[in-house]
């Protein structure tokens, strides 16, 4: 027969201060775990969720990111007629040539960051259907107009609708604000590709081309064709693959975060062990009594383990609540891979909450295991004698 849970809860409440302090330690560890994972989740969604499953990104052979790529106009013209690319009802090809350039922009509150200014054609909005203009309108290609990602607004000077943004060599009127469902285009400024070419004094070439796959088209055949056709001779991959590779920074942060959390957890487990050992030795008589009443040694062990578990999971819940204010907090992060800054928001997802609770439970089990075993191994006579 099992010892009632009520016994454990009341025992925890009896030594209130000690319980609160142990729980506090575990709660802080869980809070750290949640904060780091929320950062990783935010970064991940800002990078990996950018792609569209039907899109292919075309780069120069050997290029690792679009920053380091160049595509000639004749290469672009040759690929436009491939049958695997979707066409709009009016016959327009869903091929979006793009030219991202890093330009310095003034941060609100001082300092400057490299922000991606992406030169595009109006077709870009059809190739990237997740990008929506939520305020204002699309830029007019014939004048220096831009649309600005929502993630930049508030973090960088003159990014609000209607203001005049200064970057590169010119002044640019902000005529629209765009969103990308949290993706990295939200941290960019989009302008007409020819204006951007002129401004950066790049020759008349593009950095990369995004192609929208026609329904039912074979993506591998398209990628092979782009590589093998002597007029094209470019390297292509799906956007999903491309952004997965770009997310190395998020993965690196995840590894670092887990290392930090696990090492802290070891510290907290030692603390919990101290508390549970103290609990066991303070309640030696009680353990003897329980055994004398007929509770099996295993029931005693289970009871102490459960007590440690209750303590840890409650603490975990507190830790999650402590870390919760970070959810949705938007900030900017320098990306080592693209040398540009992107905006993202911390995201405490449901999965993170569950992981945090499991993490707390694991701490409880590790912290309670040895003391609970000690409680189990006491002989009735010795335990009762210690009165």
């Amino acid at each position: 027969m099992a010892i009632p849970l009520k016994y454990n809860v009341r025992s925890l409440l009896v030594r209130r201060v000690s319980t609160a302090m142990t729980a506090g330690g575990i709660a802080l560890v869980v809070a750290v775990f949640v904060i780091v994972m929320a950062l990783v989740a935010g970064l991940n969604s800002a990078i990996s969720d950018t792609g569209d499953p039907d899109n292919v990104i075309v780069l120069r052979k050997g290029a690792t990111t679009e920053t380091y790529s160049a595509i000639q106009l004749d290469q672009f013209d040759a690929m436009k007629f491939l049958p695997q690319i979707r066409r709009e009802p009016d016959g327009e090809v869903d091929a979006s040539p793009e030219l991202p350039v890093q330009a310095l922009m003034e941060r609100v509150g001082g300092g400057r960051d490299n922000i991606v200014v992406r030169g595009v054609l109006p077709i870009a909005l059809k190739v990237h259907p997740k990008v929506k203009i939520v305020e204002g309108r699309m830029f007019n290609p014939s004048v220096n107009e831009v649309i600005v990602g929502k993630g930049l607004v508030g973090h960088y000077a003159n990014t609000a609708l209607g203001s005049t943004l200064r970057f590169g060599r010119g002044n640019w009127k902000v005529v629209g604000i765009m969103t990308d469902q949290g993706g990295s285009f939200e941290s960019e400024v989009w302008g007409d590709i020819h204006n951007v070419q002129d401004d950066a004094q790049r020759g008349a070439y593009y950095a990369d081309v995004r192609l929208k796959l026609a329904p039912g088209a074979d993506v591998d055949a398209l990628i092979r064709r782009l590589a093998d056709d002597p007029r094209i001779n470019l390297q292509a991959e799906t956007e999903a693959d491309y952004y997965k590779d770009q997310a190395v920074i998020a993965n690196q942060m995840r590894v670092l975060g887990i290392i930090v959390a696990v090492i802290m957890a070891v510290g907290a487990i030692f603390g919990a062990m101290n508390t549970m050992y103290a609990a066991v030795s303070a309640r030696t008589t009680e353990i003897g009594t329980l055994r004398a009443l007929g509770f099996a040694p295993l029931a005693v062990m289970a009871s102490f383990l459960l007590e440690s578990l209750v303590l840890a999971v409650t603490a975990g819940a507190i830790g999650i609540v402590l870390a919760m204010p970070i959810d949705g907090l938007s900030t900017t992060f320098g990306n080592f891979v693209t040398f540009s800054t992107m905006a993202f928001s911390f995201r405490v997802t449901f999965a993170i909450v569950i992981q945090a609770l499991i993490f707390a439970a694991v701490m409880g089990v590790f912290g309670g295991w040895l003391p609970a075993r000690q409680a189990m191994k006491m002989t009735i006579v010795d335990a009762l004698r210690s009165v």
Binding site: V32, G62, G111, A268
Partner: protein
């Protein structure tokens, strides 16, 4: 000091508890000292590489925008300017995409005058100036790819659509970034067939106090031209790179703070437990004449020792681990984090404070408790 024996005796009384507490402080301060070392990387890089007399001139629009090489001739004529070295970023990879490291092309003529602090021997400079395909490589990159002097290597272009074949004629050490590779810009320019533009122009002036004046002279000279410039002292230039990672730094500091809070809670709990168990004997000591102050000091000394033991264990192991650790390219400028001695000291102070603060409340109450009450509860 005559109570040293008593303090030590108290420490070993519950060996398991002492060990657990020391270990939990140690692992926590291990992670604390590693975390607070992260933001100091910026200062280390600045302190290591930045010279007081070097200026970086780049396009006002950002580093993605280039500037004409012709600017060099105009900058040379500005008073106080001693050396001018144009530089272009090549951004090549050795074999794999993940093999990225900073590789740049510079004009060879004045490299030795611009970077005398890079620990390059005269012979190696002479070779660099003589051989068109020569390159100088930082020690860390040499080690990472198992390169040796005299070896011929090929760097695959990413930004440029071609590869360069280079001969390693020397190693850069000294204050140079340890993962650098520099080769000659005349070679790059010939291969690129895009003459006349560079990413950056390094300018060295005669005295640090003339830096602001020269910066102003350069930027005013090119104002309203097709490529306006923005010049910064080397420290500001590197600092603006590091500034991008401020979220990362803030995170590391925030986490470090939480770690300290956490370990303080755990330590305070343990101290409270161990002192509570000794209330009886503390009362006995009081009743045979030990003053409350002495008892308080004995208890605090014990807790202080636990804290310091954990602190030493934690920060020394963190120091060793960081020294042996290289996170590789993906961590960007953080691939090599070294713990500055100041952080070692800081961690030990934190450890001592954790020891003292965790015990002060229970120790005071135990030492000041009414003797009669305490003795009565011994039972």
């Amino acid at each position: 000091m005559k109570y040293t024996a008593l303090v030590l005796k108290n420490l070993v009384r519950s060996k398991r508890r002492t060990i657990l507490t020391v270990l939990s402080i140690a692992v926590s301060l291990f992670i604390f000292s590693a975390l607070v070392s992260v933001p100091t990387v910026a200062n280390q890089i600045l302190g290591n590489t930045a010279s007081g007399t070097r200026i970086a001139t780049h396009n006002k629009a950002g580093l993605a925008y280039s500037i004409p090489i012709a600017y060099k001739q105009r900058i040379v004529t500005i008073p106080h300017v001693e050396v001018v070295v144009p530089e272009s970023w090549f951004g090549g990879v050795y074999h794999e995409v993940s093999d990225q490291f900073p590789n740049l092309a510079v004009d060879p003529e004045q490299v030795d005058l611009m970077w005398p602090d890079w620990g390059i021997s005269r012979e190696q400079f002479a070779q660099f100036k003589k051989i068109r395909t020569a390159c100088l490589v930082g020690g860390e990159t040499m080690k990472r790819f198992h390169l040796h002097l005299g070896q011929q290597i090929q760097l695959r272009g990413t930004l440029y659509p071609f590869n360069v074949t280079l001969n390693i004629v020397g190693m850069v050490g000294g204050k140079a970034p340890p993962n650098f590779l520099i080769f000659r810009r005349d070679y790059l320019e010939e291969a690129a067939g895009r003459p006349g533009m560079v990413d950056l122009i390094w300018v060295k002036v005669d005295k640090p106090e003339n830096v602001p004046q020269v910066i102003a002279a350069i930027d005013e000279g090119f104002a309203n031209s097709s490529a306006e410039t923005s010049s910064e002292s080397e420290a500001v230039f590197i600092g603006s790179f590091m500034d991008q990672y401020r979220t990362f730094f803030t995170m590391a500091e925030l986490l470090g703070l939480i770690v300290v809070l956490m370990i303080a809670t755990v330590a305070a709990n343990t101290a409270a437990m161990s002192i509570r168990e000794r209330r009886g004997e503390i009362a006995v000591m009081r009743s045979i004449g030990f003053p409350a102050r002495t008892i308080l000091s004995i208890l605090l000394a014990e807790s202080l020792l636990i804290g310091l033991a954990g602190g030493i264990l934690g920060c020394v192991s963190a120091y060793i681990v960081l020294k042996g650790l290289s996170l590789g390219n993906v961590a960007g400028p953080f691939s090599t984090i070294r713990m500055p001695p100041a952080i070692l000291a800081e961690t030990l102070v934190v450890a001592a404070l954790i020891g003292l603060i965790s015990a002060i409340v229970p120790a005071r109450s135990a030492a000041r408790r009414n003797i009669v009450d305490a003795l009565r509860t011994v039972a």
